[in-house]
């Protein structure tokens, strides 16, 4: 395991310390908790937005704390949900009285821990509600599954809920646009190499030198097919076809695109992917309103990428376009 860390058990703590040291204007740490919050919290009359989950997805989620996005983010151990008291404490600190929306990715751990926090919050006098993000089209929804995974589309939920909250909307309204975003966002990823959870010390799967896995999750969960490495254009078509067919996106739709690197993929390659996305969308008459390319929802040092499409209406467009000033997502 080649990592720039001090000890696997200390990595989340060290990271949070380094993050606060780097960006004191954006984040402060809640002492005793693995949570970062906006130092200005609570913001008068504003609905608080709390996100969180396992660590290892940086800049998700603390990188999105700031004006127009999140108020707090809870950092669990690597790839493991934070416990309920962290979610609860974050909610308490950011609540101005207007209530708190928790943005949770659809994994059983995150679901259960945040649900417990939501229940506990009732007794602490904080109105908490949750939105569950499940944008990954790789895993089919069925009565036998916990449903789709939440991946990079979560960033759009942060952005849009955050913008709505910044406008002074109430909790119901903020939740409504967050759910509208979830309903209109679809993603899918692929991986070239595995990643290593520090505490495990080794990758829990291997990919041959000429293999890739389509549909792999952001914790290295197996995807839907393992196959020979193909040219970027072909991979992009495969991912985008599944995404487009799922919602489905169609001619005349206006979308935002997110090309997300999983950790080790050079930006160069993400732009190569985006070239093909732009071509396919043009062919299909899908209009691209905005494109984001970079690392937003990573999986440690996994090589690979995910593509996210968000269908926009006038309301979502205006919220997406609103300014944001966070560590990792800045928009004028």
């Amino acid at each position: 395991m080649k990592k720039l860390i001090n000890a696997p058990e200390k990595v989340v703590e060290d990271m949070l310390t380094g993050m606060v040291a780097a960006h004191p204007q954006y984040v402060r740490k809640l002492s005793g908790y693995s949570c970062l919050v906006n130092p200005q919290s609570p913001i008068t009359n504003k609905v608080g937005i709390v996100s969180g989950g396992g660590s290892g997805h940086e800049p998700s989620h603390a990188g999105f704390i700031g004006r127009g996005m999140l108020d707090a983010a809870c950092a669990g151990n690597v790839f493991s949900s934070p416990t309920p008291d962290h979610f609860l404490e974050a909610a308490k600190v950011v609540d101005s009285g207007a209530g708190v929306l928790m943005v949770i990715k659809n994994y059983s751990g995150d679901l259960m821990n945040s649900q417990m926090a939501e229940e506990m919050a009732e007794f602490e006098g904080v109105k908490v509600t949750r939105v569950i993000v499940d944008d990954d089209v790789a895993v089919k929804n069925s009565t036998y599954t916990t449903g789709r995974r939440g991946i990079a589309g979560t960033v759009f939920v942060h952005k849009i809920a955050g913008a709505k909250a910044a406008q002074g909307a109430d909790l119901d309204e903020v939740k409504r646009v967050a759910e509208k975003t979830v309903a209109n966002v679809r993603s899918m990823g692929m991986a070239l190499t595995p990643c290593i959870v520090p505490i495990a010390g080794k990758a829990n799967f291997e990919l041959a030198e000429d293999e890739m896995e389509i549909g792999m999750g952001i914790h290295g969960e197996p995807g839907i097919t393992r196959c020979k490495l193909a040219p970027a254009d072909e991979i992009t078509s495969t991912l985008l076809e599944k995404i487009i067919q799922d919602l489905p996106f169609g001619k005349g739709d206006e979308v935002a695109v997110l090309v997300n690197g999983l950790g080790a993929t050079p930006l160069m390659e993400l732009y190569v992917i985006n070239k093909k996305i732009a071509e396919i969308c043009a062919e299909k008459g899908i209009r691209i309103h905005r494109t984001y390319v970079g690392e937003y929802m990573t999986a440690l040092e996994m090589a690979g990428a995910s593509i996210t499409l968000l269908r926009l209406d006038e309301e979502l467009k205006a919220l997406l376009d609103a300014p944001a000033d966070t560590i990792a997502f800045k928009q004028f």
Partner: protein
């Protein structure tokens, strides 16, 4: 000995912690086949917290011992298993209420409460290749023993055997819950890590009366 007392329960909690911590790597390995290889780490950190708690538990009634153990697990574990194992202990404790002595009947009621708590929280059922597949047969064994008036030692031995058989059965199941379900068919042949920990729990109960 036909009843377990508060101090027995404290000892069981302590022994459970030691057992889990000793099996940390094994549990990680099992989770690695079906999930993300962190279950051993996660439950061990919960058990390390339990271990610290033990010296302060002595003064409590059995229900409180289990309840406090549950909240400790929830606060220290995280992941999917934190709320689930926490719920098992919490619901068991709640079911006991103020009881000071625990016989087969109380054990059966206790784990039945745990089982229904876990099912509700995890939205799962038997056959989903989870810890429920060990907890449910063990609970049924205790309920049968209670109905038949079986002695404590024998009842716990049967519960432990039933849990072990439940673990064995998970090998042939396709997971439907938790991250393991993404493995689908590929998971066949591998036993569930959470179920394995449940078997260890019943084994500790059984061994405590031997």
């Amino acid at each position: 000995m036909e009843k377990l007392t508060a101090s027995d329960i404290v000892n069981i909690v302590a022994e459970f912690s030691r057992t889990i911590i000793a099996n940390r790597d094994y549990l990680n390995e099992l989770d690695g086949k079906l999930g993300d290889a962190d279950f051993g780490t996660s439950i061990s950190s919960g058990c390390a917290a339990l271990d610290k708690l033990v010296p302060d538990l002595g003064a409590n009634k059995p229900g409180m011992v289990l309840g406090k153990s549950g909240t400790t697990l929830i606060r220290s574990m995280g992941g999917a298993s934190g709320p689930l194992f926490g719920t098992i202990f919490m619901r068991a404790g709640k079911e006991l209420g103020d009881a000071t002595e625990i016989g087969v009947k109380e054990l059966a009621a206790m784990f039945a409460a745990s089982l229904s708590g876990v099912k509700a929280l995890g939205k799962s059922n038997a056959g989903d290749k989870t810890l429920i597949d060990a907890l449910e047969p063990a609970t049924l064994a205790l309920e049968t023993a209670a109905a038949e008036g079986t002695a404590l030692r024998e009842a716990l031995a049967r519960a432990s055997v039933a849990a072990a058989q439940g673990v064995e059965n998970t090998k042939n199941m396709v997971a439907n819950r938790g991250r393991a379900h993404y493995v689908g068919e590929r998971g066949i042949g591998h036993q569930d890590a959470g179920a394995t920990a449940i078997h260890l729990l019943f084994k500790v109960f059984a061994d405590s009366v031997n």
